[in-house]
Every structure is written in structure tokens, then in C-alpha cells.
């Protein structure tokens, strides 16, 4: 195995991880909410992209938009159903509801899309490129580019301006935010719509790398969990760096030690970081 190729793989994987996790970063950082249906929403995003692209015959960019639209609709629906629990910040019930919701999504997807594995053969995934001796596809470059753009935009939004300010107020004290004239319900709906859109976008871009099944999603949840916690909960920059770090670690560990133990190894790293730096790698946190 060549080191350069592994590093390139790691960078691509890292951007994929960061993109998959970004919805959760906002969810947890802004609204102090969780969504354990995240993995199944990823799965759904992958299948909707496949359906729109391979079945409806839409161009790939249009299929991505269809998936994002579906993700937003699902996100809004979930949040609308559990609004009362959200307003009460009842995390345990929200965890159970979203977990159950994920299973419903999986069952429904199996009925609609069948048990067959599908392959998303997008045009950029068929283009191979050589960069300084390492091989990548145009799809890989697309993942990296979109991840960078999404993170840069999100940082701008969270750090400056009205939207980010509103979000940070709701994150700190939703009750006090009401007295500041903020419609807290709308913020929560917006945050879940973003989560739905972001995970669908991630799926539409990352899923073409592997066959898709209605059973996928578990690994994505684990990755998301590691990235969000390592990055310092709610930290946009932290999540990006943590995604990149985890991608590099997994690629190098998988390439040079053993691909069978990468998940276990990343959990070992997570545990070590949690014990040594409970706030995550970006200790500033607080919605940055």
C-alpha cells in the first residue's frame, strides 16, 4: 500500500465524514437536540437520489435536489411530531422517538425500494483522475469541494449575522429567547430541516462510493457520533477537523494495520480524547 494513496483516501473519507456529520453538529450545537434516525435518513437520501437518477432518469444534480427536498420534508415532519418534547428539552424521549422513527424509515424503505442492493453510478464517479501518483474519482473531488463550501458557509452563518445569533440564543436559553421575540418553534423546525437537507446532500454525494442497501446507516451514525464529540459538541470548525482526522486515521489504520479493526480503533481514540479532553478537541465550543 502506498502512503500517498492512503493519505489521499483519508482526506476524501474525512470530508465525507464531516459532511455526513454536519447536520448533527448543528442539531446538537444549536438546539441541544439529537436524531438517532440520522443513519436511516442518510439511507433514505441515498435511495431517493438513486430513484430520481436511475429510475426517473433525472440528471444527477436534479436528483440531488430531489433528495434534499425529501430530506427537508422528513426533517420537518419528525420535528413537528415531537415539538412538545423539544420545547421541554426532553432528550430521553427524543432519543427514543428518533430511534423508533429510524426503524420505521428503514421498514418503509425496504417496502418501497426492495431488498436488492443498488449502485448509484453517477457520471462523476465514472471519471478516474491521477493526482501526483494517487488515484481519485471526480466524485471524490466533488465530495471534498462540497464539504469545504458547506462548512465555510455554515461558519459564516453561525459566526456573523442574525441567523447565527438567533440560533445561539435558542441554544443557550430557549425560554429567554422567547422573551427576545424569537419564534423558538420555527428555529427548531429550521434546524431539523437543515439536518434533513444536510444528511440527504451527504448521502447523494457519498453513497455512490459503495453499494446502497436499506440496511445501511449504522456506520454513518457511529461516524457522526465520533466526529461531533471529537470536534467539541456544536463546533463547526471542530467537526470539520475531527472528520478529517478520523478519515485519515481510518484510511491509514485500514491500509497499514487492519481494515477489520478500524471502527474499534476509532472508538479507542474517541475514548482517549473524552477522558483526556472532555470538551472535545475544539474546547471553545458553544456553536462555533
Amino acid at each position: 500500500m502506498n502512503l500517498l494513496q492512503q493519505i489521499v483516501n483519508g482526506v476524501i473519507l474525512g470530508h465525507a465524514y464531516a459532511l455526513i456529520a454536519i447536520g448533527w453538529t448543528v442539531l446538537l450545537g444549536v438546539a441541544r437536540l439529537v436524531n438517532f434516525g440520522h443513519g436511516q435518513m442518510y439511507m433514505l437520501g441515498a435511495f431517493v437520489t438513486w430513484w430520481a437518477f436511475a429510475r426517473l432518469g433525472l440528471p444527477y444534480p436534479a436528483a440531488i435536489l430531489v433528495a434534499i427536498g425529501g430530506g427537508i420534508a422528513v426533517g420537518l415532519a419528525v420535528q413537528a411530531v415531537m415539538m412538545r418534547l423539544t420545547l421541554e428539552q426532553n432528550l430521553v424521549s427524543i432519543m427514543i422517538i428518533t430511534l423508533g422513527f429510524g426503524h420505521v424509515l428503514r421498514g418503509a424503505a425496504a417496502l418501497v425500494f426492495g431488498a436488492q442492493p443498488q449502485v448509484l453510478e453517477t457520471p462523476p464517479s465514472l471519471i478516474d483522475l491521477e493526482i501526483a501518483g494517487a488515484w481519485v474519482t471526480a466524485q471524490d473531488l466533488l465530495i471534498v469541494a462540497v464539504a469545504i463550501v458547506v462548512f465555510a458557509l455554515l461558519r459564516l452563518v453561525v459566526e456573523g449575522g442574525r441567523v447565527g445569533r438567533t440560533a445561539r440564543m435558542v441554544a443557550e436559553d430557549p425560554k429567554l429567547a422567547e422573551l427576545a421575540g424569537i419564534d423558538v418553534r420555527r428555529v427548531y423546525l429550521g434546524v431539523f430541516a437543515f439536518e434533513g437537507a444536510a444528511v440527504a446532500l451527504a448521502a447523494a454525494l457519498v453513497a455512490p462510493r459503495t453499494p446502497i442497501l436499506t440496511a445501511i446507516g449504522f456506520e454513518e451514525v457511529i461516524v457522526t457520533f465520533v466526529v461531533v464529540v471529537l470536534g467539541g459538541i456544536g463546533s463547526v470548525t471542530g467537526s470539520y477537523l475531527a472528520g478529517l482526522g478520523l478519515g485519515l486515521f481510518n484510511a491509514l489504520f485500514g491500509g497499514f494495520v487492519s481494515p477489520a479493526y478500524t471502527t474499534a480503533a476509532s472508538f479507542a481514540v474517541l475514548t482517549a480524547v473524552l477522558v483526556l479532553r472532555p470538551g472535545g478537541l475544539a474546547t471553545r465550543g458553544g456553536g462555533r
Binding site: 442574525r162 445569533r165 438567533t166 445561539r168 440564543m169 443557550e172 436559553d173 425560554k175 429567554l176 422567547e178 422573551l179 427576545a180 421575540g181 424569537i182 419564534d183 423558538v184 458553544g286 456553536g287
Partner: protein, 244 residues
């Protein structure tokens, strides 16, 4: 509406926590350019009253009755809608966002400012201290600075009626007087209508136009401050505070 119509009016306002009736208020009115003090012992129901005006609480009260702002029934509106109509509450305790800087706290109000909003310069003229603390977070401010910022946030939003729940709590006596005098200035200079909850009755009496004395969720006495000054029930309550 006639000119004498109250800016803020509550009718048959009842609040219960579980089976515990915490407030039973037949009527309360706040006129234009009026400063009304609400006083009473700890646990009398003062916060319960002002929170109910906003439809707001950190607990889970059952609230019934009517609240009108400029004659409009706002009882069915969510808190943020009442706020956008100009009914503003500075709640008991910390009313600033501790993780946002002073600048950001004020900008958050400016984001939603109405035509009545005070300008940044007007706010800094009232509270010059805040100008020196712009880059501090709410959490880094002293108790007095926090109260100033909380009131400044409300002014920046644009109040029609301002409700202050114990703005002087925990402040040094000199600061108490300064905060209450500032509130009086808002009323005199801008014609603002203010409902002021204050446990420091002696200090309140110096600035308010009218006083409402609450005990166990009911109005025990009410009237112009000149008449209430000599009310034995006020003297008793005042002495009670003085002894504490």
C-alpha cells in the same frame, strides 16, 4: 379607543401550578406614561403575575383570563408575538444571554427592533457602563451591568409597555437607586409605561406613580403612591422588608 384607555390591561387573570392557585387578579391596568409598582412578600405571586401577562413561564402553570395591549386581546398569542407587539418583560434573575457578548446581546434586539426602539446611542447614554463592556460576554458582567444590559436589550427592541421583575435584586443600595431612577427617566422622558416588580418597597415608593400590594396571589391594596405611603399594610410590608 379613548386617550385614557390603558396601554396594558389584565382581567380575571388566574394562574395555578398544579392544584395550587398562585394568582387571582380581577383587574390590573397600566396607563400611558405610568409607572406602577407591584410589591409584596416573597412568594406572593408577583412573578407569577408578570409572567402571565406575557404568557411566559419556566414552569408549567395553567393560565386563564384576558390580557389586552392597546385594546387588542393578546391572551391567545404566544410569548414572542406579544413581544413583537411591544409588551416586553425583563424576567427575574439573569435576563441576558451569558454566552453572547454585550454587542451581540444588543444586536439580537436590533434584529427585531420596532419603530419604538431606542437607538444604540440612546441606550449608551442611559447606561454608559455598557459601552466599556462591549466585548465582554453576558456571563462576565457584574450583577448591576447585567441588569443594565437586560433593560437595554428591551429598550433596543422597542417597548410599548415594559415589565421589570425585580431589576434591583442583588444590587448594592447605591445601584438600586440608580437603576430605579433610570426607569423613572424612561417614563418621564419617553412616556413609556412601566410595570415594576420590586421587593425593595422603600426604594420603589420614591419612583412609582401607583402601588399594587399583592399577598398570596391577591391584590391586598392598590392606589396612588401618595395615599399608599401611609397605608398600614404597606408600612407593615415595608417594615417586614426592612427587618430582613
Amino acid at each position: 379607543m379613548s386617550a385614557a384607555a390603558p396601554v396594558l390591561e389584565a382581567e380575571s387573570l388566574r394562574v395555578a401550578y398544579g392544584g395550587n392557585q398562585a394568582l387571582d387578579l380581577p383587574r390590573l391596568a397600566l396607563g400611558a406614561g405610568e409607572l406602577v409598582g407591584v410589591v409584596g412578600a416573597n412568594g406572593a405571586g408577583k412573578s407569577t403575575l408578570v409572567n402571565a401577562l406575557l404568557g411566559w413561564s419556566r414552569g408549567r402553570p395553567r393560565v386563564s383570563g384576558r390580557v389586552r395591549l392597546d385594546g387588542e386581546d393578546i391572551s391567545a398569542l404566544p410569548t414572542h408575538e406579544r413581544v413583537r407587539r411591544g409588551l416586553l418583560l425583563v424576567p427575574e434573575g439573569g435576563a441576558v444571554f451569558a454566552r453572547l457578548t454585550v454587542t451581540e446581546n444588543l444586536a439580537a434586539s436590533a434584529d427585531r427592533a420596532t419603530g419604538r426602539a431606542y437607538t444604540e446611542d440612546e441606550v449608551f447614554a442611559l447606561f454608559p457602563r455598557l459601552r466599556e463592556r462591549l466585548h465582554h460576554t453576558g456571563g462576565q458582567l457584574s450583577g448591576g451591568e447585567r441588569q443594565m444590559l437586560a433593560i437595554a436589550r428591551a429598550l433596543r427592541l422597542g417597548p410599548r409597555a415594559l415589565v421589570l421583575d425585580e431589576p434591583s435584586i442583588g444590587l448594592a443600595p447605591r445601584l438600586v437607586v440608580s437603576v430605579l431612577e433610570t426607569v423613572r427617566r424612561l417614563v418621564d422622558e419617553r412616556g413609556l409605561s412601566v410595570l415594576l416588580v420590586e421587593q425593595n418597597v422603600r426604594a420603589a415608593i420614591e419612583v412609582v406613580d401607583r402601588l399594587v400590594l399583592i399577598e398570596r396571589g391577591r391584590v391586598l391594596a392598590e392606589g396612588p403612591v401618595a395615599a399608599m405611603r401611609d397605608d398600614p399594610r404597606i408600612i407593615q410590608a415595608y417594615l417586614g422588608e426592612g427587618a430582613a
